[in-house]
Symmetry: C2
Subunit: 196 residues, 2 copies
């Protein structure tokens, strides 16, 4: 059993090295050779952990999604429902250094996913998961009887989802202008505007 | 003079070949060799048009921005002001095949801009230009006396800008779910919600 644990641990270390390369030097530099060097292991022993570069990149991309999911699953909800919903949505927004690192890597992977079928499949699953989270928020507002009855639920799901991703991407691309406080304010304002 | 025209024309052909490579095979494949082959010219003669790969990519990225600017400058405004503003904002949203091609290329370039200072500088200029366009929309609503007085203008500029980019990115990444009609509806709804 310790052997398996070590194996998983090494895969994680390699994936984290891939993240650092992607953030520092870009996806173009995410070769097996560069990642092995960053991880401090030989190119030869990389084969024990990942058979191909594609497998490695898929694992590294999936790690972003796993970390977000783990955080959401560990959330405790014991305040006002409106606050829960905001907290849930804030998980998709890079308002800490850790989440910013994840978001930067995720952005690079989504760009690559346009021409890589395996990454595309994973990206599609994640988009659907996030959309479902946004849907839960909107339907919860409806169930609570605080959602404005003149609004179209489907359209509001898409508008809120687009807002979240827009804020997240601005935090990555315009970090001097878009910060955690501003994202929080925009999200609060938006949620409030959906309720009379 | 005809020589200069030809030179500019060839640069354009090369940049368009770069767009095709980026869309088809990803930024990782946008080498001078691959782009020359796609453009149907020799690697040797590429030197006449661009001294380096960086210069070529910067030109190809700037071409996206130039095309959007040209479309905005050729817009004629002769309907209700609210409709003008929506039309202006729709220019940043990929609701035609041509604009979708531009947006896909732009997305790949912004991802690369995180680790490429020259592309970053251009990206920053474009982000500021788009923010200014969004600011013009909000301040026009204020001047027309139709902007809700309880709203914060600065926050609404950022929220609208994030929404526009979120919709645009969803059109690129989730084309089966986010289409031109839905983007138009979301934008119309959002602009309407800013006015009493």
């Amino acid at each position: 059993m310790p052997k398996i644990v070590d194996h998983d641990k090494q895969r994680l270390l390699v994936a984290e090295a891939a993240w650092r390369i992607i953030r520092k030097n870009g996806m173009e530099q995410a070769s097996v050779r560069n990642i092995a060097e960053e991880a401090g292991i030989s190119v030869g022993s990389m084969r024990h952990y990942f058979s191909t570069q594609s497998e490695l990149l898929l694992y590294a991309m999936n790690l972003v999604s796993e970390r977000v999911t783990a955080r959401i699953q560990s959330m405790s909800f014991d305040g006002p429902p409106m606050e829960h919903m905001k907290q849930l949505l804030l998980e998709f927004i890079p308002n800490t250094d850790e989440k910013m690192a994840e978001m930067e890597v995720w952005y690079a992977f989504t760009a690559k996913s346009k021409t890589d079928p395996a990454l595309k499949k994973l990206a599609d699953t994640v988009y659907n998961d996030i959309r479902r989270a946004v849907e839960i928020v909107i339907t919860s507002l409806v169930k609570l009887g605080i959602f404005r009855p003149d609004l179209n639920q489907e359209l509001e799901i898409e508008r809120l989802y687009a807002l979240i991703d827009g804020l997240a991407i601005h935090a990555v691309l315009r970090p001097d202008q878009m910060n955690g406080q501003l994202m929080d304010e925009a999200l609060t304002l938006h949620l409030t505007s959906l309720c009379p």
